[in-house]
């Protein structure tokens, strides 16, 4: 069985999830090739142990994202019976579109992969897990940070191919930058504020804590909907982002089921809420019944002490 991994780019270089895709597929055997759309990260991909071939597909169509143009451009080079991507927004679209074009079934956002092939994934926003049997050939997208990455030290051959592909989606204007700030879906620690923060300006206290520990700042939907200053890109939950950091800190968030849907799979959860009955305490590993006004300064101080140890 041959595996074709379509690499993920992040910040003009290879996203770390690509090595995790190699790690995931090496457990089920087969020759692994990596396709780098737009050529981004091809030299880094060649250094992942276990990769036998890197195909750097380059052309004007990769200047901005057009799902179908990208898929049509890379389609001729997909020669394998297991196609894999990350389960980022773009990764899901690419795996679904490629699968449909090749008449493969696709299963998205898998968190385990076994011989056979059987995969598991979370459904109903984490309220249940399903196990699915898939026949080859197929396409799979993989949730980041659930598989061990393959190691470095590889030395695969890189083939560069120039393609010309018509695009039909044209970017006219950048409206708001995702910002230099760390994205909640990427971060290893997330600190989120809810309506209990009282005012959007109070999020500055969360940013102070975030800076101490390299965390991203998130928000509940109530905070996003109430305050213009809090963009939807920060929203965690059913209609926001799903996050699985090693530590999630919820401040002034009640813990509505739709919020839990986006963060309950975090490894550890710390909740700070003044209401001892708040449902967020039901999922928290550590719960502190207190106002944010009293606790956030202390949290910053003690984290800073621990970090400088």
């Amino acid at each position: 069985m041959d595996v074709v991994i379509i690499s993920e780019a992040g910040n003009e270089s290879l996203h770390p999830v690509t090595a995790q895709l190699v790690g995931a597929s090496s457990s089920i055997g087969g020759k692994i090739s990596v396709i780098c759309p737009g050529g981004i990260g091809s030299s880094e991909a060649a250094m992942i142990a276990g990769v036998s071939k890197v195909i750097s597909v380059e052309g004007d169509c990769f200047a901005s994202y057009d799902c179908m143009a990208w898929c049509n451009a890379i389609l001729p080079f997909i020669d394998g019976d297991l196609v894999m991507t990350s389960s980022s927004a773009i990764g899901r679209e690419i795996s679904a579109a490629i699968a449909a074009k090749k008449d493969f079934p696709v299963v998205q956002d898998i968190t385990s992969l076994n011989d056979g092939i059987s995969v598991s994934r979370s459904i109903f926003s984490g309220k249940a897990i399903e196990e699915v049997g898939v026949s080859l050939p197929c396409a799979l997208s993989v949730r980041a940070n659930t598989f061990q990455p393959a190691e470095g030290g590889g030395n695969a051959e890189i083939t560069t191919i120039n393609v010309s592909q018509e695009v039909s989606v044209a970017v006219k204007e950048a409206l708001a930058k995702a910002g230099e700030r760390l994205d909640v879906a990427e971060a290893n620690i997330v600190i989120s504020g809810g309506r209990g923060m009282g005012d959007p300006s109070n999020f500055s206290h969360l940013y102070d804590v975030a800076e101490e520990i390299g965390a991203a700042v998130g928000a509940s939907r109530a905070a996003v909907d109430t305050w213009e200053e809090i963009p939807h890109s920060m929203q965690v939950g059913q209609t926001g982002k799903t996050v699985t950091p090693s530590l999630y800190i919820a401040v002034g968030i009640s813990g509505a089921i739709q919020h839990l849907a986006g963060m309950r799979s975090s490894k550890y959860i710390l909740a700070i809420n003044k209401d001892p009955e708040a449902p967020i305490f039901g999922v928290a590993d550590y719960g502190i019944v207190a106002t944010w006004e009293e606790s956030i300064p202390a949290l910053k101080e003690h984290l800073s002490a621990v970090m400088s140890d």
């Binding site: 799902c67 179908m68 927004a89 899901r92 679209e93 690419i94 679904a96 579109a97 699968a99 449909a100 074009k101 079934p105 696709v106 299963v107 998205q108 956002d109 994934r121 979370s122 459904i123 109903f124 249940a128 897990i129 399903e130 699915v132 197929c138 989606v169 044209a170 970017v171 006219k172 204007e173 950048a174 409206l175 930058k177 995702a178 620690i189 520990i213 939807h232 890109s233 059913q238 209609t239 926001g240 799903t242 530590l247 739709q258 849907a261 490894k267 550890y268 959860i269 001892p276 590993d285 550590y286 719960g287 502190i288 019944v289 207190a290 606790s295 202390a298 949290l299 003690h302 984290l303």
Partner: protein, 252 residues
């Protein structure tokens, strides 16, 4: 130019999901709703109709109860309702996408809107897959769309932030939650919708044969229980908790 919107009926986001005998117990689910991202697609589809699209066709695929989605869509402005009726409890992506794309072909719409992923399966395969089968362009994570002559202009959440894009030719857009407010139906809309006929179509009427599935459900299970958490009173406990984050959880 017709606009089709794909709607999926899913358990309401507040529904408790329980597993019995390695399957999610559907009979325990009391409230079913249009999947949240599909609601944003529906809202934008109505906006397109208001700005001059010819016809708004709402399409769903699912068991009998799913027709409620269509009636709800009619109450806010859908003109034509198509229900592909199936009782299958699990369909692989190939089957779902071929059903929906042949229903869209039948509707003769060249603009298709749907949610970026469904709230039950959390997959996100349908939009891009259907676009591929139809040979349409695909734009994901759209928050707003408008029609400008023959061109669609949309705002999408791209990898580097919000951007405005233009797309030409037949296309499928998948929707995210944006700043757009969802409208509620008025009484007149609700009354009219009750009378609106629904075209019920069987999968075989679309000329689709459900062969042996290439992805099949083996089991459902409940997520592993977390051990009960530790609770502390007052901000004075912060120092202790930070110590535990370091020594017990090893996360800082």
């Amino acid at each position: 130019m017709g606009v089709a919107v794909l709607l999926k009926q899913v358990p309401d986001t507040t529904a408790k999901i329980s597993v019995s005998g390695s399957r999610v117990d559907e009979s325990a689910i009391t409230k079913w709703s249009i999947s949240p991202y599909d609601e944003y697609a529906l809202e934008s589809a109505i906006a397109l109709k208001e700005s001059g699209a010819d016809e708004l066709v709402a399409i769903t695929c699912g068991p009998q109860r799913a027709s409620k989605c269509l009636t709800e869509a009619a109450a806010v402005g859908a003109d034509r309702l198509i229900h592909i009726v199936t009782d299958a409890d699990f369909m692989d992506s190939c089957t779902v996408q071929s059903i929906l794309s042949s229903a869209i072909e039948r509707s003769e719409c060249d603009i298709v809107l749907c949610g970026k992923q469904a709230a039950d399966t959390n997959s996100g395969s349908t939009g891009p897959g259907v676009a591929s089968l139809l040979g349409y362009s695909c734009v994901g994570s759209v928050t707003e769309v408008s029609m400008d002559g023959g061109k669609l202009s949309a705002t999408r959440l791209g990898a580097t932030g919000l951007e405005r894009i233009e797309v030409s030719g037949p296309c499928l857009l998948t929707f995210d939650k944006g700043e757009v407010e969802l409208r509620r139906p008025n009484v007149r809309g609700i009354m009219m919708a009750k009378k609106k006929p629904i075209e019920s179509i069987g999968v075989e009427d679309l000329g689709i044969e459900i062969g042996s599935p290439r992805a099949s459900l083996q089991s459902h299970s409940s997520p592993p229980d977390k051990p009960p958490g530790q609770k502390f009173e007052g901000a004075g406990s912060i120092e202790v908790v930070v110590g535990k984050l370091r020594d017990e959880a090893n996360v800082i």
